[in-house]
Amino acid sequence: MEQVMSSINLSAIAPELILVVCSLLILLIQSFAPIRLKGWYGYVSLIGVVGAVAVVLTQPQSFELRAIEYSFNGMWVVDNYCRFFKLIFLLGTGLTILISIKYLDNEAMQHGEYYALIIFATLGMMIMSSGAELITIFLGVELMSISLYVLAGYTRNRMISNEAALKYFLLGSFATCFLLYGIALIYGSTGTTSIPAIAKFIAGAGFGGPTIVMGMALLVIGFGFKTASVPFHMWAPDVYEGAPAPVTAFMSAGPKAAAFAAFARIFMEALPSLQTNWTMLIWVMAVLTMSVGNVIALVQENIKRMLAYSSIAHAGYVLVAFLSAGERGISSILYYMLAYTCMNIGAFAVITVLAGKGEQRVRIADFRGLGYRHPIAALAMTLFLFSLAGIPPTGGFMGKFYIFSAAIKEGFVGLAIIGVINSVVSVYYYLRVTVAMYMQAPDTAAEKEIPVTVFSPALVIAIFISAYGVLSLGLFPSTYLAMVKLSFLTLL
């Protein structure tokens, strides 16, 4: 591995620059262009996302070289780890935009701001994954969170959406304070916020002292909120339920991956010497997150809320991978986040198809008989739910397999057993939806006639891409594993 150090390097931030230009462009078009052009905002943002993907793939060398390139006086790093995560974020963003176009038409809320905010949030995630310094990461977190607060309340005439925005905003900024206090204490005790410099300082001093352990604990709280891990998960169900469905899809995938990206970079790279201190803490968090998420999901009637608890449970599985650390742990985090992005956004895409104007049909009961009315939508939903439950041959199964085998090899056998039990429990509530779709008849005549209201080629493409991702991750894992293997090494 070679290391390059330089100050200003625009090619290192090229994908981010493309996104900035794209979102500012959308705002300007929104300001000056005639109203009939409003159908195009989504496509402009898609072009930006595709451009950013192209640059990430070629920047600065090929994936095989595994170079780490620091720039901007050590504030910014480009390595395969962050590039892999950026591809996940951009995949999530692209799929979300495809889902949103028709949804916004249907709600009569087609505005450029929506896409600009989605892209700003993506930008924040990319900054989080590329930040080599705590304040840079903090700025990324905030750019992402502030955009998401607005997006959660985007359908501003729906009270539940307003509530979601307010709850997300209050708890999110509360969490930010903890994150920031942690950064302050680490800065104070090491005299630096640069991740490599912190690692060097702690390694030199042997033990960082109580201040740094305190700072670490506060960082765990902050990132616990951002990843929606128990006991810091209270916001997630309400926000996921209240936010517009495409926004829920967006924030259940990308931001969670981004939080784990920054979390893992800080803990594996800057604080590996404190591993004994954080292992116990995160062990407890992982067990609680998996169990609470899955158990509460069992009794949910609203499918968005059910998927919110399921998303909490999935954060728990990723925490198991996080604990395993090392080569296997990190590569399984990368693999799982990719699979999770495909399957979760896919499931939300199907929900968007069926929810209808004002999202009237989001109860599990509304899915009754779907298998006969809309066989293809039901088939796609079944695939995504099977993947979420971890049933082969899907990406979710391979992801869980890697996570639990990593945990067993690193000696966390108990944790792996709890994880497997949890994923067996989770099969129940995912199958409930499948059973409703294929084995139950709608109650009333009105329910039988439910039309597919939000249907468009873009949505079909989104569902197709997600389904392809889920299946190929499950059937041909070696292709993706090769990419993952090139990605985690730079972190160690």
Partner: protein, 100 residues
């Protein structure tokens, strides 16, 4: 000269007051004020550290945090206003549509 510990204690006390306020207050605006108090406690901590470490970095961080806090305040107030328009209350106990 005031010692570093006094500043850190003050920062910690302000942070705790803010954190307790978030849990005990019922008005969304006051909860947000408590969050601002926590942010400023962190600012104080960072400035104190920067002063005693003789590093300029900390001062720049505080600028960044202040700007971010302003952006957050703008968005937060906008969210509170839009909720108030729909519901005519900012009491968080009455904001309870999603339960489960």
């Amino acid at each position: 000269m005031v010692s570093l510990n006094s500043y850190l204690m003050l920062g910690a006390v302000l942070f705790s007051i803010g954190a307790v306020g978030v849990f005990t207050q019922r008005n969304a605006l006051i909860i947000y004020m408590c969050i601002e108090l926590m942010l400023n406690a962190v600012n104080l901590t960072i400035i104190a550290f920067a002063r005693f470490l003789n590093s300029m970095d900390g001062h720049v961080f505080v600028f960044m945090i202040m700007t971010v806090a302003a952006a957050e305040a703008a968005v937060g107030l906008a969210i509170i206003i839009s909720l108030f328009r729909n519901k005519a209350t900012v009491n968080v106990d009455e904001i309870n549509l999603s339960k489960g």
